[in-house]
């Protein structure tokens, strides 16, 4: 039992905006009152629900490939020495799994979602998630380039494709559906990409990116998944791609969807020399369409490594940068590319990208529909979120930072004209309450009775960057895991999975196809539920629809 006494509580779900009140915890959950137990005196401190990261790359074959590619970053990274409370690890832009759990927790984030999992290597992902301590987690299944799904779409067998998708979600022990450059990654298997949303994917007559997107968004709804289709749009990173993003958003009218790392999809210009922000057009559309949510995928200057299933984009990035290139195509399902990258303040393109991430966060009016991410590690490492929070809360600081950018960039962005400053409550929405709602996790993102007792306590500080970087206490499921910024106790988090309904007979259809196309036996393909530490199977069809 635990009582957090006298702190200023920010809980936007319950309309609490810095109200002094006690927060009580028993059996890992928030309760109205407790008769005794430990008391934390939070006088002069702020009390918030733990952070929820809706899109990050922290576990599985892709990020582990990135770790392999960048020993030079590990060497200069913060090393986590072993202590009685935690294991050793390496920080940096692609931290080791244990370090990932400790670093998220010691920043106040207690729930995180790995955004890209192939079924074929999902066992690996879950092994890494199990080795990512403290935080609760889940993962999204890569489905937008699955060839069995695309072959069924070609045959217009929508009924069967729904059962196949449901079967695959459960086989991967995933939480949601993710599509990355739909059709484009499949084309990359022949060294190609897709052009536009309405041209057929190479090798198909009827399957276009548009058809994949609408079919999957519909299937996510039909299956009643708690989180809608999680979409990485086509044409990521390219000048002028905002037009594709707008077309995609129009396709999704009437259905729910989540647009991942929107910053990478909001560019104007005809080529790299005319590259500019189109964040206002994208934000305007999003403002008018409550069926959509998005996460920022904001960029911060400095070193990082890019990790994405978008194989053709990564090949282009390798050609543009001349840096190292890793590629891993996964049979019949998806791809993966790795390219180390440095965002430079003096680069016109990078400066526009930095501005676009902030512009989207500031121009989307409803904080319940845009969430703080960097698409870790693509736009910057997750442990740099506090830097973004400061940029959002302090317009003067933003203006200061703009001075360091090339003057030519100012005509290509709108950031200098934006005066909005986030309130602390709005920060809680974009980092916790909003993503929890978009994920259909009713016990996360708030401090009402019955919620998971994931609580962060900060010393109030006029510099929000400093405040968010070092919580005074972090409480996970009722246990005090961080005190004074140090890990004091390691607990193991849960994993959220869903089991959408499907016709068991679908295996009779899948097995022969599988044996023809794959190189592992069908029995070895699904992830056994027993492999998952502390799995919580979340209900389908009953999630909140906001």
């Amino acid at each position: 039992m635990l009582r957090i006494k006298g702190g200023k509580v920010y809980d936007p779900v319950h309309g609490l905006d810095g109200v002094c009140r006690d927060v009580c915890v028993a059996d890992g959950r928030i309760v109205e009152d407790v008769p005794g137990g430990r008391v934390i005196d939070a006088t002069g401190m702020v009390v918030l629900p733990g952070g929820v990261d809706i899109h990050t790359h922290i576990a599985g074959a892709a990020i582990n490939f990135a770790r392999e590619m960048i020993p030079e970053d590990h060497r200069r990274a913060v090393a986590l020495a072993r202590t009685p409370a935690r294991r050793a690890g390496i920080g940096g832009v692609a931290p080791s799994t244990f370090a990932t759990g400790y670093m998220y927790a010691s920043m106040g984030w207690t729930t995180i979602f790995e955004a890209a999992v192939p079924v074929l290597t999902a066992k690996h992902t879950h092994e890494e998630l199990r080795d990512t301590p403290i935080v609760d987690k889940g993962c999204y299944l890569l489905i937008g380039n699955n060839e069995i799904v695309m072959d069924l779409l070609e045959a217009e067998d929508y009924e069967r494709v729904r059962h196949v998708v449901a079967w695959l979600v459960w086989a991967a022990k995933a939480y949601g559906l993710k599509a990355v450059n739909p059709g484009g990654v499949a084309a990359w298997k022949w060294g190609q990409n897709v052009q536009g949303l309405f041209e057929p994917v190479p090798g198909y007559q009827r399957v276009t990116p548009a058809r994949i997107i609408t079919a999957l968004a519909q299937i996510a709804e039909d299956l009643g998944l708690p989180h809608p289709l999680h979409l990485h749009c086509n044409q990521l990173g390219l000048p002028g791609n905002f037009a594709t993003t707008l077309e995609t958003m129009k396709l999704l009218e009437g259905r729910r969807a989540h647009l991942a790392h929107l910053q990478f999809h909001a560019y104007g210009g005809d080529d790299w020399s005319t590259f500019r922000s189109e964040a206002p057009r994208i934000a305007e559309y999003l403002n008018d369409h409550p069926n959509l949510t998005a996460d920022a995928g904001a960029v911060l200057f400095g070193d990082t490594v890019t990790v994405t299933a978008d194989g053709p984009w990564q090949y282009l990035l390798y050609q543009l940068t001349g840096h190292k290139w890793g590629n891993m195509d996964i049979e019949n399902e998806t791809g993966c590319g790795i390219v180390p990258y440095v965002y430079r303040e003096r680069s016109l393109v990078n400066a526009v990208q930095w501005a676009v991430g902030l512009e989207l966060l500031l121009l989307v009016q409803d904080p319940w529909r845009i969430f703080l991410t960097t698409d870790h590690p693509n736009g910057g490492a997750f442990w740099r979120y506090p830097e973004i929070i400061r940029l959002l809360m302090d317009a003067d600081y933003r203006r200061e930072r703009l001075k360091a950018l090339p003057s030519k960039v100012l005509k290509r962005i709108v950031l200098p004209d934006i005066d909005r400053e986030y309130t602390l409550s709005e920060i809680v929405v974009i980092t916790s309450a909003g993503p929890a709602r978009a994920l259909g996790l009713s016990q996360k993102g708030h401090l009402g009775a019955g919620a998971d007792a994931d609580i962060v306590i900060y010393d109030e500080d006029p510099d929000p960057g400093r405040m968010f970087a070092r919580p005074r206490y972090v409480i996970k499921a009722g246990e005090v895991v961080v005190e004074d910024g140090e890990i004091r106790k390691t607990v193991l988090g849960r994993e959220f999975v869903v089991r959408p309904a499907y016709d068991e007979g679908i295996e009779t259809f899948l097995r022969p196809l599988f044996e023809h196309y794959y190189t592992v036996s069908f029995a070895n393909y699904p992830v056994e539920l027993e492999r998952i530490h502390s799995a919580e199977v979340r209900p389908c069809g009953a999630g909140p629809r906001s």
């Binding site: 590990h74 294991r87 390496i90 080791s96 799994t97 690996h124 092994e127 290139w325 590629n327 190189t519």
Partner: protein, 316 residues
């Protein structure tokens, strides 16, 4: 710079029409490779199996694998780097000196023919073995073959993969990467992982005599390592866990027989393309599993020091 253009083996099965083995002998060392993944299987876009594929073998001697190949290119020992570099030049239409090519044991025409086949392939793959990675040049050879494959992607789809073996070496490398950031040669003596091949890799540590105890799990270093390393294994307390009495177990202070993983112990193996495969034991063993022995050693150590030692992991 190069990199690592790779794929899972099913991509090779379904798509590859040009298969190159370089410095390896799959017919004897990976006997199911041809039939499960690369040559004979009929894949989604290779409906005629072997007829849809061309196989090239590059090696310093004519091994039994040459019988399976359409083209066998015999090169002189230690000339792999030169051949790879010449190929990189040829695919970029750079001039190549025929006399220097001749020193490799091949002719310029043979290399031009290979380069042309590589560029014309629909989906090409190079599997490279220890004949490339463990001979003169070592990592420079690996770098050259990976760079060649990366550069070929300017013309077509091209992949390069190492032919790994020795049980679950890929699994060890995968797990070490997610726990420490590094694939091998990791030192914990400062309480956090450090990586420096040549300094912290096993042979170097043993040859320098830097370690004062050795725990060997599922490996047989005394059968393959250089003599000075073996001498040090004999000098210090060496403990070996193995399903059979190995060469190393014979020279060790303590040998513990364990259940054979995949036969009488379960677990996960990572295939050479890093696809995880669950193992389900078919037989029962009178011996404990490696995991159980290690767990019991750890518990015993915790009892001896009177504290909770390693809830968080081993240190050396």
């Amino acid at each position: 710079m190069g990199g690592k253009p790779a794929c899972t083996l099913g991509e090779v099965k379904n798509r590859a029409d040009l298969i190159i083995y370089w410095g390896g002998n799959p017919a004897e060392c990976h006997p199911r490779h041809f039939t499960k993944y690369t040559l004979t299987p009929k894949g989604k876009f290779t409906p005629n199996g072997r007829k849809d594929r061309t196989m090239v073998l590059v090696d310093i001697r004519e091994t039994p694998s040459a019988r399976a190949a359409d083209i066998f290119l015999q090169i002189r020992p230690g000339r792999d780097f030169e051949v790879l570099t010449a190929l990189r030049a040829i695919i970029k239409d750079q001039p190549v000196d025929p006399e220097r090519v001749a020193q490799t044991g091949l002719t310029l025409d043979q290399l031009r023919d290979l380069a042309e086949r590589m560029k014309r392939a629909r989906f090409g793959v190079i599997f490279f073995g220890m004949g490339l990675t463990m001979t003169r040049g070592k990592y420079m050879n690996s770098s050259a073959v990976l760079t060649l494959a990366a550069e070929l992607n300017a013309f077509t789809k091209f992949i390069a993969m190492p032919m790994r073996g020795h049980g679950n070496v890929t699994g060890a490398d995968t797990v070490l990467r997610w726990t420490t950031g590094y694939p091998f040669g990791v030192c914990f003596n400062r309480g956090y992982p450090r990586y420096n091949p040549g300094e912290f890799s096993t042979i170097d540590l043993l040859v320098r005599g830097d370690v004062d105890a050795v725990l060997v799990v599922g490996a047989d270093p005394a059968a393959t390592m250089p003599q000075p390393a073996i001498e040090h294994l004999k000098r210090v307390p060496t403990i070996v866990l193995d399903p059979k009495v190995s060469t190393t177990m014979r020279i060790a202070r303590v040998g513990i027989l364990t259940a054979a993983t995949g036969i009488s112990a379960g677990g996960t193996v990572y295939r050479m393309d890093e696809v995880p495969i669950p193992l389900r034991p078919a037989l029962r063993s009178p011996y404990p599993t490696d995991e159980e022995v290690l767990r019991r050693i750890r518990q015993a150590l915790a009892g001896r020091t009177g504290g909770e030692t390693s809830s968080v992991g081993a240190d050396s």
